[in-house]
């Protein structure tokens, strides 16, 4: 019983991190049709800068932790915004080339991070409370999992509210549907695209800081490793669907967790099988073709 509770809650924690990565991917794909291979790089960058700052102001203090979250999100956002402006935007509507450009960027930047931070993992610490556990129904659940879940839910709500309630959100939803009409109304839709990249990058950066606490380290390849699962999540959830991404994140993380524990480490295979099944039965994913 307590094992199941432990697997459930820690699975949700992992799902939260998957969601933070895939929400941005999904938004970007939905709006621009770009499959962003560089998204993992945003995550690693957020995690590295978050840690650099936290370790300077005191990693084990709550202030340091909060600051690292903010810095991580900002770093991811800034990196994403630059990527959009200088690379993706110039290949307007050439989707295959846009994908290729992000592939190249990912290769180059991971190598750059290797050069800057080294290939060895950089170990990360947080406030002591994060490492402690809370007992839920007999299971000692590490506290950082709860933090991930709360942050992911907040991000989900924030993005949904942003898309629903703000003018920019409105423009983005309209742009998903008919980009040239938005332009014809006098709106520079490109800044909306940059904004979507920025939001995606911020979520990824935030996810990066939380992932570094979840895994206990940051390394240049951390983001790319998570990216493959984020891709799978995005495809299962339905490219472009935020709620789809949320549901699929939880589904994939739980499946992976339980299969790893009960089916002798077959978690990754189970996820691939799930992907194949979903694509064969619902090629556009669980919630395909919806903006929200």
């Amino acid at each position: 019983m307590s094992t199941i509770v432990l697997l459930l809650i820690t699975g949700l924690g992992l799902g939260a991190i998957y969601f933070l990565v895939s929400s941005g991917l999904s938004l970007i794909y939905g709006l621009m049709g770009v499959l962003n291979f560089a998204h993992g790089v945003f995550l690693s960058f957020g995690a590295f800068l978050g840690w650099e700052v936290a370790s300077r102001v005191g990693a084990t203090s709550w202030g340091g932790f909060a600051l690292s979250l903010v810095v991580g999100a900002l770093a991811g956002a800034a990196f994403a915004a630059l990527t959009e402006r200088f690379l993706v935007q110039r290949l307007y509507n050439r989707h295959i080339e846009q994908v290729l450009v992000t592939v190249g960027l990912a290769l180059a930047v991971v190598a750059l991070f290797d050069g800057i931070w080294g290939t060895d993992p950089t170990f990360v610490r947080g406030p002591g409370w994060l490492d402690q556990t809370t007992t839920v129904l007999g299971a000692r659940v590490p506290n950082d999992r709860f933090v991930s879940i709360v942050v992911a839910v907040l991000v989900l709500l924030a993005i949904v509210l942003f898309l629903k309630r703000t003018r920019f959100g409105m423009i983005i939803r309209a742009g998903v549907e008919n980009r040239s009409m938005v332009t014809a109304l006098g709106i520079d839709v490109r800044s909306a695209f940059t904004l979507v990249f920025t939001i995606g990058g911020a979520a990824a950066g935030l996810g990066g800081v939380l992932a570094s606490h979840y895994f206990g380290y940051v390394s240049p390849v951390l983001g790319q490793t998570l990216l493959i699962f984020a891709f799978i999540v995005t495809v299962i959830g339905g490219l472009g669907s935020l709620t789809g991404a949320a549901i699929a994140s939880v589904l994939v993380a739980l499946l992976q967790q339980f299969a790893n524990y009960y089916l002798s480490g077959t978690g990754d295979f189970a996820v691939v099988v799930l992907l194949a099944v979903v694509l064969l039965t619902r090629p556009s994913g669980l919630m395909g073709r919806k903006a929200l």
């Binding site: 409105m170 939803r173 309209a174 008919n178 109304l185 006098g186 520079d188």
Partner: protein, 241 residues
């Protein structure tokens, strides 16, 4: 042609769409007041001409709005200079509500005339919360027109507003166009010659991506030889072809 300075002039416009030349050489003037009709058979490039003015397709040539060259500008800049665009297939944002569809069209720095829009289309107020995708074709056309009426425009480009509408709606849209033409000059693409006859003062006729006739609307429609040649119909019958 009117004697007053035209608000919009187009010279030697050509445009490409989907990799092919769809507009080859178009000259036209939009008079400072009233409706100028852009006529021609299906597929001669009317829509493409309008899109080229907006900058929505790749184009070359000269486009001048109130003395200012706009052919190098991106679509959103053209729009911000006061060019209102009602596309051929309405292109409302189906996932957004009616109100959101209007709000997204608000252009910064100009007054937003919701009262005018709600006055001519009271239905849009009633259905404010409905997703635009669930509206009937006619209602969607109201949204599309409402989106431009809300701003103060220098010129309106309206592409086949009566397409696929029932006769009753056609009349209603005709009435709205008359209202719209009072606040801003209009370049109107229209297949329904009855609507053209009622509204237009000047006509420009396209054939095969070229402008081949400019003139007074009434004279053109009266001239069977011309309508037969350019539109394949007897103008007098007021039919679409």
């Amino acid at each position: 042609m009117t004697t007053a300075e035209p608000v919009l002039t187009v010279r030697g416009l050509s445009a490409r769409a989907g990799g092919q030349q769809v507009v080859e050489h178009v000259d036209l003037d939009v008079a400072a007041t009233g409706v100028t009709a852009l006529l021609g058979r299906n597929g001669v490039g009317k829509t493409s001409t309008i899109k080229a003015i907006m900058g929505l397709v790749e184009r070359t040539g000269e486009v001048t709005l109130a003395g200012k060259r706009i052919d190098g500008l991106e679509p959103h800049r053209v729009a911000r200079l006061g060019v209102g665009y009602v596309p051929e297939d309405r292109e409302v944002f189906s996932a957004l509500t009616v109100t959101e569809n209007l709000r997204i069209a608000e252009r910064p720095g100009v007054e937003h005339r919701y009262d005018l829009v709600y006055e001519v289309f009271p239905e849009l107020k009633e259905r404010g919360g409905q997703a635009a995708g669930t509206l009937s074709g006619g209602q969607q056309q109201m949204v599309a027109l409402g989106r431009v009426l809300i701003n103060d425009n220098a010129v309106l480009l309206i592409d086949e507003p009566t397409k696929g509408l029932s006769p009753r709606l056609v009349q209603e849209v005709g009435r709205v166009l008359a209202t719209a033409a009072e606040v801003a000059p209009v370049l109107l693409v229209e297949q329904n010659l009855k609507v053209v006859r009622d509204l237009a003062r000047d006509v420009v006729v396209l054939t095969g991506g070229r402008s081949v006739h400019h003139g007074d609307a009434r004279e053109f429609l009266e001239d069977d030889r011309l309508t037969q040649r350019f539109l394949g119909v007897h103008g007098g019958e007021g039919e679409s072809a």
